[in-house]
């Protein structure tokens, strides 16, 4: 489903991703962990071309993201084409980024149009917010806002959904309701890539855990290996700090 090969990315002189290879099969859940500044979010944002990669390829369902290959050259796609590709990739932000001047339902329908209203209501019901369709984001708690954001990402019927630290901006008692929704999605077979610090969620839901440090993919594998029996010193050091 997702295929990253040799993805490298710098901000100025700072190399934030170095030669990352990663494959995510359809229907699987991949959790990316690592210390802050390790490039987790940047990697995620490269998958839907919110960040441009400097080197390497990003493919989703075999389709090159952001570029078109002509002979030996990669031509950057026009913004219109990139936007079209993004419609296949749901993205959930750490800060929700709901549109504050629209109700929950309007947020969900903004990208798909009013004719999808029954589906919009259904999606909001699926994230447990059937009674909040007409509420504005400001009237909702952080956990509810993030659930609306998840429904909004699902409205386009994406091939995969990317989650960028979806619970990091939430009060501790609201984290559970968002993770529950994500767990349901995983069980329904949604392809997901999740950047998170919730190790418990990774252990329970992930098919693959990826450990990233200083822009390099240090280790990947099923949670039973990476989380419980890490091979690399840096993974062990990170986990020992997180799992206190």
């Amino acid at each position: 489903m997702i295929e990253l090969t040799g993805v490298t990315k710098s901000f100025g002189t700072l190399e934030v991703l170095h030669d990352v290879d990663l494959t995510v099969p359809a229907g699987s859940v991949t959790v990316i962990i690592g210390p802050s500044g390790s490039g987790k979010s940047t990697l995620l944002r490269c998958i839907n071309h919110l960040e441009k990669v400097d080197r390497g390829r990003v493919r989703v369902d075999g389709e090159l993201i952001g570029y078109r290959r002509v002979g030996n050259k990669l031509h950057e796609l026009s913004e219109r084409h990139i936007l079209k590709q993004r419609a296949n990739i749901g993205f959930v932000f750490q800060t929700f980024n709901l549109f504050p001047h629209m109700t929950a339902l309007q947020n969900v329908l903004e990208a798909v149009g009013k004719q999808a209203e029954p589906r919009g209501r259904e999606l909001l019901a699926r994230v447990g917010l059937a009674d909040k369709v007409d509420a504005y984001p400001r009237q909702l708690s952080g956990g509810q806002q993030q659930r609306v954001a998840i429904a909004r990402a699902l409205a386009l019927d994406p091939k995969l959904v990317l989650f960028d630290e979806p619970t990091s901006a939430l009060d501790p008692e609201l984290v559970g309701e968002v993770l529950d929704v994500m767990r349901d999605l995983a069980q329904a077979g949604t392809t997901m890539v999740v950047v998170t610090h919730e190790i418990g969620f990774a252990r329970e839901v992930a098919d693959t855990v990826v450990f990233l440090d200083e822009g390099r993919l240090v280790e990947q594998g099923p949670p039973s290996e990476v989380l419980d029996n890490p091979q690399h010193e840096r993974t062990r050091a990170f986990l020992s700090k997180v799992l206190v």
């Binding site: 936007l83 932000f93 903004e110 400001r138």
Partner: protein, 295 residues
């Protein structure tokens, strides 16, 4: 202490017996200076009102005689037309110029910057005189291939009438200010909003229209209303082109009958009324765009 004891007396308790803690009466602080300041200001206001009524110089009879007079009404209509057209053209320009100035295209950016620089620098009065005298620079204007042959040709003086010159000047002047007001509004919107829209694959123009502009409106509206009120009053400057707007018309009348003060008052009161109407409009438009922001 005396306050406390009197409070106790009010509850009918013997003063030597301490009251239960939840029975203490709260006495708000007193503000004697507020009363004194208010009285002083009221005296000044009363003096002013007294002057308005008793001073024969105001000449209220003449004022009411001309307030709804036909020529004044016609002039008022022209003032409103200039304000309305200036605002529509100005803000249409501003909505184009602001994204240009924020774009990544260096040509669009510089042109927008240059336009704003020039039209904010030139006083409106000077600009109006320039447009009115355009015929000295170009006696004919034509539409055709740039630097090549022309298809249509007009005499400048017939194309740019005094009213046209006034409108052109007001619109260009307004556009420069409106551009900065719109730009401030755009900058006030969190950039993550556009990122979210981009992640949803929403097309660029729709992002601007549906996500950016409605949120920017909250920051744009108070400044835009200010600018509109300013424009309403700036239309009085076009009297130099001998256009029969409100201020020009009252000058014509007092030039004839010599009643300067009451006629200036006619114009003043109309400007005040129109500004009040704009303020009411502003209130309702702002309320519309505060959707989702008030609990």
């Amino acid at each position: 202490m005396s306050l406390l004891s009197s409070a106790r007396a009010a509850t009918g308790r013997p003063s030597d017996e301490p009251p239960p803690p939840d029975d203490l009466v709260v006495v708000p602080a007193r503000h004697p200076w507020r009363w004194i300041a208010a009285a002083a200001v009221l005296v000044l206001v009363a003096q002013f009102l007294h002057g308005l009524i008793t001073n024969p110089g105001w000449d209220w009879g003449t004022f009411f005689g001309y307030f709804f007079e036909k020529s004044v009404m016609d002039a008022l209509l022209i003032t409103l037309q200039l304000t309305f057209a200036g605002a529509v053209l100005g803000f249409a320009g501003g909505i184009v110029l602001a994204p240009m100035r924020l774009s990544k295209n260096p040509v669009l950016k510089s042109v927008s910057w240059g336009f704003i620089w020039v039209f904010r620098s030139v006083p409106l009065l000077v600009q109006l005189l320039f447009w009115a005298n355009l015929g000295y620079l170009y006696d004919r204007l034509q539409i055709g291939v740039p630097f090549g042959p022309g298809f249509f040709s007009f005499e400048t003086s017939t194309l740019v009438s005094a009213f046209g010159a006034a409108l052109l000047g007001l619109a260009l002047h307004e556009a420069a200010y409106a551009a900065e007001i719109v730009r401030a509004g755009i900058l006030s919107v969190d950039s993550r909003q556009l990122e979210a829209a981009a992640a949803l694959g929403i097309p660029r123009l729709r992002q601007f229209r549906r996500i950016l502009l409605p949120q920017a409106m909250r920051a744009i509206l108070p400044n835009a209303a200010n600018e509109l009120v300013n424009l309403l009053k700036s239309t009085s400057v076009v009297y130099v082109l001998a256009i029969g707007e409100l201020f020009y018309q009252v000058q014509v009348i007092y030039g004839r009958n010599g009643r300067v003060v009451p006629l200036l008052l006619v114009a003043t009161v109309w400007y005040v009324i129109l500004t009040a109407a704009l303020s009411v409009l502003q209130h309702y438009v702002e309320r519309h765009y505060s959707r989702g922001y008030v609990r």
